[in-house]
Amino acid sequence: MSLLSSVSWKGWDSMLRYILRRFLISLATVWMIATICFFLIRMLPGNPFIVANPLDMTNAERLMDYYGLSDPLWQQYVRFLGNLVHLDFGYSLAHPGRSVNDVIIQYFPVTAQLAVQAILFGIPTGILLGILSAYRRGSGLDYGTQMLTILTTAIPSYVLAALLQLLFSVQLHWFPASGWKNFSYTILPTICLSLGLIAGYCRFMRTLMLEVGQQDYLRTAKAKGLSNIRIIVFHQIRNAILPLVTNLGLEIAGLLMGSYVIEKIFSVPGLGKYFVTSINELDYTMALGLVVFQAVVVVAANFLVDLLYGIVDPRVKVA
């Protein structure tokens, strides 16, 4: 269904105006987030330059001055905003010579790849299972998926990861246990990430299918003499999937932030891990850079999903 012919769009101009407005709001949002995080992170106690040796105090103080961290906070904030406008996040404090931009450019793709793989594998599988178990309620498959959901809910991910490693690396020697070189390294983390997705979306889709299943228009479709498959595919699934779309935005955003636990266990060079480490190291610039970047990603994702939703669901009026 093309964008123009859909009745809910009152022509291009209103849409463009809408997009523009949303864009400005998004910018404001990013700025707010950046500000909040700036002050939040500065509230963390400690001095980023202290390494385990207390005799380095002079050095630490020298560096504090050198990086202008002894200036009043507002000055630093202004400087930070200035750099932000130029999209320059500066250099890491804890790791001399490491540029925040480089880290993002180099490792966001990793997080993204993992997220995309997990989504491409997890969500369709989940939806499919959900549909099947809704269609065959009370069948073995239905109970199977329910079991899966319970298992994935009742076992912490680090336990799950360890089990996967022991099975696939230690016992079967199929995939490497940890690291990041080629595709074979991505398999275990992907499985680990997507199991949760599968379970969640399976449940979600199942309930949605059952809800839609109660609707009158399915009866109408049946009265037209359509085959069950056609009814399910063209009427039931189609209406059931819509609510998933809104959910998708946050889901993707969440995954793009990277999962600390998974990344730590499989030592995946992902942003989620760097973010936590940088906060633990009080690496202000790195932490801030990552937060702001992730904020941008999330905001963008939501923005796109809203547009997408406006397109796929005619009932939603845009603007």
Binding site: M32, R137, I155, P156, Q214, L250, A253, V261, I279, V291
Partner: protein, 329 residues
């Protein structure tokens, strides 16, 4: 033409009640409870939760050992009579530790599920009820909060306040209210213009009163379900935090912490108990809450369950009928 003996004497109105055959009209909640307690699984889960809760409260008090009492001479004992769950590497009694941990996890589970919800409800209600710019502002804040990785507040709070149950709960409340706020706002919006709300309004009831006396009951069911399924989430959050090293600080402990420490031993028969018992208890806990949530949902909305419940039996029944048998339902 039948020849049965029939009595055609009229029966006076008074002697029969026109409604006598009508089923007694049933009220909502009693029905729900009836359905709930008819469901074996639900009862089992309730009992499980109760047992764990009771043990968590009582076991540490009865146990002869303190949960943080180290005894280097009795380190790494396998489960035995005086140490039912064995001891850890500094000889602390695992039985006591597990139940003290369960205490923390349960607290965090309950409060961690409740706190964000309450916060969210209040905010969502205000936003939904007031509408206009208030709504706009609150929803913007909501969006912004959703974009900030909750890791920041968590770490900050846990460093500033020290890793304790309170700080965990506070952190969860601060990082988790957005979802329920949005949901509740939607509900309020939806109910705002319903007849009964208007009626209440006409009787001059205040906004807050209407929201909490008239609207809340209407969605109590979903809330109950939401809460009971949020508990495992909260418990897990704590476990994850402990994995990162931000959980409750030692010597205080939680199941998350214990199982995280234990996970490294689960290949090691001699220390397997360090992993087994905490993991078992936490999994049982999560399972119980999760399943109970499901049962509650079914109890609140029996239609789906009825179908599932009968699907199998009815298929066979219909088949039999096709074969032209006489079937008793």
């Amino acid at each position: 033409m039948d020849t049965r003996e029939l009595d055609f004497t009229p029966v006076p109105e008074s002697s029969r009640d026109a409604d006598q055959i009508v089923r007694p009209s049933t009220r909502y909640w009693p029905e729900v409870w009836k359905r709930l307690f008819r469901n074996r699984l639900a009862v089992f889960c309730l009992i499980l939760i109760a047992v764990i809760a009771v043990l968590a409260i009582v076991a540490p008090i009865l146990s002869p050992y303190a949960y943080d009492e180290a005894d280097l001479m009795a380190s790494n004992l396998a489960p035995c009579r005086e140490h039912p769950f064995g001891t850890d590497k500094t000889g602390r009694d695992m039985w006591t530790r597990v139940w003290v941990g369960a205490r923390a996890s349960l607290l965090i589970g309950f409060l961690g599920a409740l706190a964000p919800f309450l916060l969210g409800t209040v905010i969502g209600a205000t936003s939904g009820w007031c509408g206009g710019w208030v709504d706009m502002v609150i929803m913007r804040i909501c969006d912004i909060m959703l974009c900030i990785p909750s890791m920041i507040y968590l770490i900050l709070l846990l460093i500033v306040m020290g890793g304790s149950v309170q700080s965990m709960v506070l952190a969860m409340a601060l990082s988790g209210w957005m979802g329920s706020a949005r949901g509740f706002r939607g509900r309020v919006m939806q109910f705002k213009n319903r007849e009964f709300t208007l009626a209440a309004r006409l009787q001059g009831a205040s906004g807050a009163r209407i929201v909490f006396r008239h609207i809340l009951p209407n969605i109590l069911g979903n809330i109950a379900v939401g809460l009971s399924s949020a508990v495992p989430g909260a418990i897990f959050m704590e476990a994850g935090m402990s994995y990162i090293g931000l959980g409750v600080t030692p010597p205080r402990t939680s199941l998350g912490q214990l199982s995280t420490e234990g996970i490294n031993f689960f290949m090691l028969p001699s220390k397997f108990h360090l992993f087994l018992f905490p993991a078992l208890v936490i999994s049982l806990m999560i399972f119980a809450f999760f399943m109970f949530g499901n049962c509650l949902r079914d109890a609140l909305d029996p239609r789906l369950r009825d179908e599932e419940y009968n699907a199998r039996r009815l298929r066979s029944l219909r088949r039999a009928l096709r074969r032209g048998k006489k079937v008793q339902a």
